[in-house]
């Protein structure tokens, strides 16, 4: 059986080695095999040149799946098509290296709402790798919603890459309820002027769950904008690393990149690593980052307790509120309701 040790989620700019935050190392045993999800309201299949859309997790892993003969399914969305949300439901069983890959080409002015729902059976062991590539032509709009909820012994790879041309927009809302480990690599190249990426990420980790994030937004286009909001909750002995990079390239005049991360730490054995990077090769730009990490602030606790709520209930409520932030960023109400139902009870099931 083949065993490959790979480096994924490599930071664009490394830092002190002793922190061990520059990249992640994984081991892939055996070959990748194609997995086909259930699809509702499937868009029109079609081709596009995705050779220049770079993987979010890293080309090494993507290349391995390709070597194993895993094919990608292509879609081409025209302006005025795909009015109803396209839904992909991935229900994984106990199996290693399940692989799916999709490429979406949104023509000028096209709009697409895509809902990716990934889950495994509760007792499932194994792993799954999802790769999604998007090209958005001028004025195209993508509304991408992703929810993943895996069993305790399941490992996942979530690889997303986007190329945005002039005035195109992507809005991403992603919730990760991770399972044993989740490696998440998202990359957006804002090539066109006035292109925009808005990302709302949420995670709720407990027990020994591990989440490994690497987000990269490259600003090439003038007046391009990115906004990354990440809200998370860590319980038990959970581990999370969040690498978030905004790269303001030379010539991206008037560009603006914002990043905000809030992490609620609920138990004493959690580990939170955060490395928010701003790279700036242009003066007429703005890059901002903010992070708050820790327990609930005293004012919030006092406010809730003065209204009769005990400390534990206060924490539960605030943890739910973190996920609500992401859910409320989803404009489609039916998907909102579905997700609320799906993730409800997280953190309470074992009590």
């Amino acid at each position: 059986m083949r065993t490959e040790e790979l480096i994924i989620n490599k930071m664009p700019v490394p830092t002190f080695r002793w922190l061990k935050m520059n990249e992640s190392k994984i081991k892939i045993e055996g070959a990748f095999q194609s997995f086909t999800p259930e699809i509702e309201e499937e868009a029109t299949r079609g081709e596009g040149d995705f050779s220049r859309v770079v993987s979010g997790l890293g080309e090494e892993l993507a290349g391995l799946a390709k070597e194993d003969g895993c094919e990608s399914t292509g879609y081409r969305i025209k302006k005025g098509e795909a009015k109803a949300p396209m839904i992909m439901h991935f229900l994984y069983e106990s199996k290693e290296n399940q692989h799916s890959s999709f490429c979406f080409y949104l023509e000028e002015g096209a709009k697409l709402t895509l809902f990716l729902h990934r889950e495994s059976e509760e007792k499932a062991e194994g792993s799954a790798y999802l790769q999604e590539k998007f090209i958005l032509e001028k004025n195209a709009e993508l509304n991408l919603i992703l929810v993943s909820k895996f069993g305790d012994a399941f490992q996942s790879y979530d690889d997303l890459s986007l190329q945005l041309q002039e005035s195109s927009k992507v809005k991403l809302s992603a919730i990760h309820l991770c399972g044993k480990s989740a490696h998440i690599g998202y990359r957006a190249d804002l090539l066109g002027n006035r292109s925009e990426a808005e990302m709302h990420l949420g995670y709720f980790l407990e027990k020994q769950e591990r989440a490994d994030y690497n987000l990269l937004v490259n600003h090439f286009g003038k007046k391009s904008e990115s906004h990354i909001y990440c809200d998370g909750v860590l319980r038990g002995e959970a581990f999370k690393i969040f690498r978030g990079t905004i790269d303001l390239k030379h010539g991206a005049k008037g560009a603006c990149g914002n990043e905000q991360e809030n992490v609620l730490l609920m138990d004493d054995n959690v580990v939170n690593q955060t490395i928010p990077v701003i790279l700036c090769d242009e003066d007429d730009v703005e890059g901002n980052h903010g992070a708050t990490i820790g327990r609930l602030d005293e004012d919030s606790v006092f406010y809730m307790q003065s209204r009769g709520m005990d400390l534990e209930s206060t924490y539960e409520l605030m943890a739910e509120a973190r996920m609500e932030n992401v859910i409320h960023s989803i404009s489609d109400k039916s998907i909102q309701a579905y997700i609320e139902e799906t993730i409800r009870g997280k953190g309470k099931e074992e009590e």
Binding site: V13, P14, T15, F16, R17, L19, M21, N22, L234, L248, H250, K253, V263, L265, M266, D267, D268, N269, V270, V271, N272, Q273, T274, I275, P276, V277, I278, L279, C280, D281, E282, D283, D284, V285, E286, G287, N288, H289, G290, A291, T292, I293, G294, R295, D297
Partner: protein, 471 residues
């Protein structure tokens, strides 16, 4: 219509770039490169005790086994085979400026060191290339039991054991390649011991001047502030510019005792051919306070991230720094805070300015270990880009391993805000003056932390000339 940019002049380096013509006969120079023979020769010249001889040779082994960092600015042009690791002026260290050779004395006069000593310092150490040429401590401060001497004298005196106990214990040679290099070839630097309960009210200062072309300076500063004691230590450094690379790989180790306080201020103004690969680290015991104030203006390439280990409960640390990267400079600076004790707190506040193709990187690490209950940390880093030829990056890392902690971080990169200029103009301030105010104010939170005379020096270093208008 194109926007005309605010112009900020380069730092005036004429004060630092001057040098007297020197004859080789005035100096003893070890041959270039790095071998066991060279390290042993340094030990011979310095009459090292046996433990130090062994230490140097072990450090050299570590140096050869350790690779260069795979992060940070490119230092592949630095060839150790071309660096002279030891240059000794042919003079003895003196406690009287009149006994210091004329040209060396004049160099320090121009840098204002004797005058500063007369006006506002309790003690001064002046290092020229690899050795100290002047060291003095006010009698009344010495009478309190304060020790301030060159490290070699202390090594052979009654504090020899104390030095052996502390030397490169905070920064072991295995820390990184240039810490190992330092361990092998260190020379010069200062030793300070402030006894229990003693408050040194007037600052001490060491000034490091690297005058020889193609040379390295590897001074070691070891400061021990005992329980309940207090000290402000100032470090200054400069060098004239040469066409060959110079290297500074100094090491600063600071031990801050229970209830003690240490402020360590640095104005670094190396020449633009200098590789500044310096390591600074402090360990703070219970209720102790460590304050760093750092101005980085010079050098071709800098790697500088003072680390504070908050070991004792309720220990505190602050780092305040400004970095100004101009043409040909790649300054990678920041700070590291490691929380171990309970109820510890840290604050990092930095400002970076990049212009004329200069590269400024803010890099930091805040680590809160599991036992550091109720730790608090805040980081604020702001960067100002003055033209589109320059570059500014921020790479802050945060690692929190307990839920009983509060960590906040904010970073901002941009140029002079049009809104701020408009606001000031709407209140009657002319545009050029408004922009000048904004740039000056940007570094103000740092300069106000410096002693007055150094704040003035810093403001002189960042001399502003405003032209043009927003089109």
């Amino acid at each position: 219509m194109a926007k005309e940019r605010t112009e900020v002049q380069d730092i005036d380096r004429s004060l630092y770039d001057f040098r007297y013509e020197e004859k080789d006969s005035d100096f003893y120079k070890i041959k270039e490169g790095l071998t066991a023979e060279i390290v042993e020769e340094i030990s011979d010249k310095k009459n090292d005790p046996q433990w130090m001889r062994d230490f140097r040779l072990k450090a050299l082994e570590v140096y050869h086994k350790t690779d260069i960092p795979n992060w940070g600015p490119d230092i592949s042009d630095l060839n150790m085979d071309n660096i002279v690791t030891y240059v000794k002026p042919k003079t003895k260290m003196s406690a009287d400026w009149e006994e210091v050779p004329e040209d060396i004395k004049n160099t320090f006069e121009k840098l204002g060191i004797p005058e500063a000593e007369r006006k506002s310092l309790a003690g001064v150490g002046a290092q020229y290339d690899s050795e100290l040429v002047y060291h003095n401590l006010q009698e009344e401060v010495a009478a309190k039991g304060v020790v301030y001497s060159d490290i070699e004298s202390a090594l052979h005196g009654p504090y020899g054991e104390m030095i052996e106990k502390h030397f490169m214990k905070l920064v072991p040679p295995t820390d990184h390649k240039f810490a190992a290099l330092h361990g092998a070839v260190w020379s010069g630097g200062s030793f300070v011991y402030v006894p229990k309960g003693v408050n040194v009210e007037i600052p001490l200062q060491s000034y490091f001047r690297l005058n020889a072309p193609g040379a390295g300076q590897f001074e070691h500063t070891l400061i021990i502030v005992d329980e309940g004691a207090e000290l402000h230590f100032i470090e200054g450094c400069s060098a004239p510019k040469y066409n060959v690379a110079n290297l500074h790989a100094g090491c600063v180790e600071l031990f801050v005792g229970k209830n003690a306080k240490l402020r360590y201020s640095t104005i670094e103004n190396w020449s633009k051919n200098m590789y500044n690969l310096n390591t600074k680290r402090a360990r703070v015991e219970e209720n102790g306070i460590m304050e760093w104030v750092s101005g980085s203006f010079g050098s071709h390439i800098s790697y500088l991230y003072p680390m504070t280990i908050l070991k004792g409960d309720n220990a505190r640390a602050e780092f305040t720094g400004v970095t100004f990267a101009g043409a040909g400079q790649n300054l990678d600076t920041g700070a590291k805070m490691v929380h171990i004790g309970k109820d510890t707190s840290s604050y990092i506040n930095t400002r970076s300015i990049s212009k004329s193709g200069g590269i400024s990187t803010y890099r930091s690490a805040v680590v809160i270990q599991n036992q550091a209950k109720n730790a608090k940390s805040a980081v604020s880093c702001q960067s100002l880009m003055l033209d589109d030829q320059s570059r500014s990056d921020t790479v802050p890392a945060i690692d929190v391993r307990t839920n009983q902690a509060d960590v906040g971080h904010e970073a901002k990169i941009g140029r002079i805000s049009d809104e701020a200029v408009f606001y000031l103009m709407s209140r009657g301030i002319p545009e050029e003056e408004a922009k000048s105010l904004i740039v000056s104010g940007f570094a103000d939170s740092v300069s106000k932390e410096l002693p007055l005379e150094y704040a003035v020096e810093m403001n002189n270093l960042i001399r502003l000339e405003m032209v043009g208008a927003i089109g």
